[in-house]
Symmetry: C2
Subunit: 340 residues, 2 copies
């Protein structure tokens, strides 16, 4: 069964293709009678316009692309919803595209723009380590990076960014433990494949140690990969090689919770024996037992700012801007003052 095209419908309806097109696109300048008739034909034959052809011909859309890397990020679903809502109340539509791991993000953005004739692109996550000014300029539309580390060498006037200060947040988390009297603080971080966020959070940990004059110990380090299992395994290794630790900072809640499992299995009580602090404040954190002390990510705010910047640039020729949200530690019960 061959699919009908606009020409077939025009013939069936006894009108020109332009008229069918006008009906499809809800143009007002069609006689009511004609419109109804064409609509009937369309429904009867279940005609669906071909999007490729539309995109190809169309000079312009009202669409903003959301390019996502990292399907597992627990925040992205909520951020997308929030961004989508704002964009649409400003008259724009969001088109979501998940970029495959291993695909260069800036190239994906470019293709996305060309194919969908996008008005702008928002990136959630992604690796822009080697991004150049030239590459950004080539996009030709407003470009916003959200929740990803941005290279320092870039010309800031070419793009926007909405992030948190990961280094500072990690610093504060570790400082918090230190202030509670801990000086044997292990770190569960991510490995080399994660070039951005994990590395920066590790830097915050190191700065806190050095400012508090706490010696950095090699055996206090372990590496996972943003999953429960790897957090669990990392903690098992830590308990083997560093049985004197009194606190653990995991750079993601998911890994923190995996680590907690390892402790329970060994009969180690949180926070009585070891204090545990995570990062992200995912939904689970609050519901974990004991509720997990962690660094809160202002997910809604990031999403809303991102959308607002895009809309601002598109509507008012607002300039590009760079927003860094402050983070707060959410104190729950998984950390405890050291006995003196």
């Amino acid at each position: 069964m061959k699919n009908l095209n606009i020409k077939d419908i025009a013939k069936l309806a006894g009108v020109g293709v332009s008229t069918v097109s006008r009906v499809i696109n809800q143009h007002t300048d069609v006689k009511d009678e004609t419109r109804k008739h064409v609509q009937e034909i369309i429904e009867t034959y279940n005609y669906i316009p071909n999007n490729s052809a539309r995109n190809l011909k169309r000079n312009e859309s009202m669409d903003v692309g959301i390019l996502i890397k990292g399907m597992y990020n627990p925040f992205f679903a909520r951020m997308i919803q929030s961004i989508e809502k704002r964009l649409s109340s400003a008259g724009y539509s969001a088109i979501i595209h998940y970029n495959i791991e291993g695909n260069k993000d800036i190239d994906a953005a470019n293709e996305f723009i060309l194919e969908k004739k996008l008005k702008g692109v928002i990136c959630l996550g992604g690796d822009f380590d080697k991004l150049t000014d030239q590459e950004i300029q080539r996009l030709g539309v407003p470009f916003i990076l959200a929740s990803t580390e941005i290279p320092e060498n870039l010309n800031r006037s070419l793009f926007s960014s909405v992030i948190i200060d990961n280094e500072m947040a990690a610093y504060r988390a570790v400082k918090y433990l230190s202030d509670m009297g801990h000086n044997k603080i292990a770190l569960i971080t991510t490995g080399n494949e994660d070039k951005s966020i994990g590395t920066i959070r590790t830097q915050g940990y190191l700065r806190a140690l050095s400012e508090q004059n706490i010696e950095k110990k090699e055996n206090y380090f372990e590496v996972g990969a943003y999953t429960f299992e790897t957090g669990y395994e990392a903690m098992c290794r830590l308990l083997e090689k560093a049985n004197d630790i009194t606190a653990v900072f995991a750079i993601s809640d998911v890994m923190a919770i995996g680590a907690a499992k390892a402790m329970y299995e060994k009969g180690i009580k949180i926070p009585d024996d070891i204090s545990l602090i995570g990062f992200d404040d995912i939904d689970y954190a609050e519901f974990f037992n004991p509720p997990l002390t962690t660094v809160h990510q202002p997910v809604e705010e990031i999403a809303e700012s991102t959308a607002d910047i895009m809309i601002g640039i598109l509507d008012d020729n607002l300039k590009h801007q760079h927003i860094i949200f402050d983070t707060e530690i959410v104190i729950r019960n998984s950390c405890k003052q050291m006995n003196c």
Copy 2:
């Protein structure tokens, strides 16, 4: 800065557009020298072919679409990865599309097929309540439903499905509680907006009660919406209106964990005071405290079967089939024998 098209590249390279096209598409019949030269021009000018034009012109692709409804489903990310891997080792590519809530799934499938010239479509989740044979036939390509309830009135030879028996699984979960001596078993399910899975699991609960001659009580029912918060709130209400319950069956782990939080807050111990059983066996279930007894979803198996059926139909003219996976209860520590 205008974007270059294939014609511009052809001119710049001093060749015809067909040659550029051949280079882009890795056809073998181009002189090495020519190919290299064209490739250089493409890189220098950072030419990116327009996908809309390609899709429009192309008669056929080697792509299978994965149409997803419900970004929050914790399993879909893993399923997609698994399906993608299998498809690609059979020579097909997966194209992922997230359908927006409120959009009719069968229409989205149709558009998707037309636009991308898909060889087949796999649906993860989605609502096919009112699907008709005619609508399936109109797609014109193999159609597989995975992890979603399928209407009974459909002609089974027109599509495939890979699911678990949700009714039986829920039945067993409740039977398990009953076998442990519980007969005051509350249910946290989903509301009317969830027409498929929630309703079926509720039916399993009801059948277990009736077969065990346990009276169904209105005040043992509460409704949430697949989130922690709604699970928590549902449990709070349950504790108000049904303080004699000894067990709770939540139709999703996420809600079960929310419910657990409510119990902790009230000083109710799991499983000593109330037993708790969930559904899904999400990663977190094992790491919860106490580890959550739940119904395991064979996620990998569902994904692999789905991919294999698609490949089979595409390659060997295999027929459509309907697979129902058996589920097992994973016994952890959140349920306890009643004292007699």
